[in-house]
Point group: D2
Chain length 128, copies 4
């Protein structure tokens, strides 16, 4: 889709496409992990995980939308939002990793957060 964009884009299109894919995958994993945590018998021990999952899902989902827009591009908005993604993915990855031995959904979600954090850092570096 990015290749059909009718104007120049200031970034390497494949780096940008990878970032959007990682953000969407992370948002999906966090939404699903929040709900799986709600279905665990020990949900009372997982409420922080649910909350961090919901935040990370929201922030990464919105970042994927913002990065999909190139018209009237404002690098400051993308950069500050990517920094928020790095923070959210770090927190959510840490939280999910602490339950990964017990819950497979947390293990998968932690991996998605780590990968998304890595890709967002890469895009931030490419933008500077």
């Amino acid at each position: 889709m990015l290749e059909t964009y009718p104007q120049p884009i200031n970034l390497d299109r494949s780096v940008l496409a990878d970032a959007i894919d990682a953000l969407v995958a992370c948002s999906q994993a966090c939404t699903a992990c929040a709900d799986a945590c709600l279905s665990e018998d020990m949900v009372a021990d997982l409420t922080k995980c649910v909350r961090t999952n919901l935040d990370c899902a929201d922030i990464c989902g919105v970042a994927a939308r913002v990065l999909s827009r190139h018209t009237g591009y404002d690098a400051n908005i993308s950069r500050s939002l990517l920094e928020a993604c790095v923070v959210a993915c770090r927190s959510c990855g840490d939280e999910c990793a602490s339950h990964a031995g017990m819950h497979e959904h947390c293990r998968i979600c932690a991996d998605a957060c780590r990968e998304c954090e890595r890709v967002c850092r890469g895009l931030l570096a490419a933008m500077s």
Copy 2:
């Protein structure tokens, strides 16, 4: 991810996973197509397309989230939202198809809408 869900799910998990994937892909295509339309010289002729793209992106994105939740499942909510997706994908697919000969992003987006409409109809049939 769906296979790690700790409770039974009332639907065939692969049908559900396909629907979530199609909804996410359609939402992404519509977000990108809206922005590509904004960058066309003839944007004044594409404002209806931008608007329908934004609506379809919003509705399909939210449906992917709702379908990713299984705790306390309420089939009525999923069903009515899938019906809204079918309507939005039909409208957006028709609108984008009418520009597909001129704009490659509209052609790709029309395909994503058609596929998403087909998959949503299939899930609605599986749910009844």
Copy 3:
């Protein structure tokens, strides 16, 4: 804001503005109620309420956005999405009402859902 819109709108602007306000208020109440439920000691008894709150917050939030767009207006999309709102508000209002005696946040959220359902039905009637 609606009064500054540069083209005609097919609906009574005050009915439309009331619906957008009710949808936004309901979405906010559901987001806050989901989080308050997560903080209750008896969270294990409230997981269905959390899930329905999250669905209703998502659907009403998106409906407010769709109704805020008038360019290239497609009544079919608005109508089907309002029907999904009615279903979600009904389910969430019922679920929250069943906990209203015990949790004040559920009582407030049930009221917001009932009001939003009423306003969405009114707008649907005005559109037909």
Copy 4:
């Protein structure tokens, strides 16, 4: 609603409630301004405004959701997202202000962005 929250909240509840209200109002104003711009005859001169409006609407809308969650509160996520809101509101406020003499919806939206930026800065100060 905030007063019914069953656990302590680390922030002054009225400062927090004001921030959520300003974020929701800004998100709504930006969504409506984007659509009003699409309906102007001179839409080709307003595409940057539409794009910045869509970004600001998305970011402020998500920040309102994140700030509505207090369970398992992580100040780093809120802080980085509020910083993204400040940047988005600044950009969108500047862009809309430059069209405010010509379009009343841009004037109203610029005011909402300025107010939201001010309130977000205040909350950031209260959090540090």
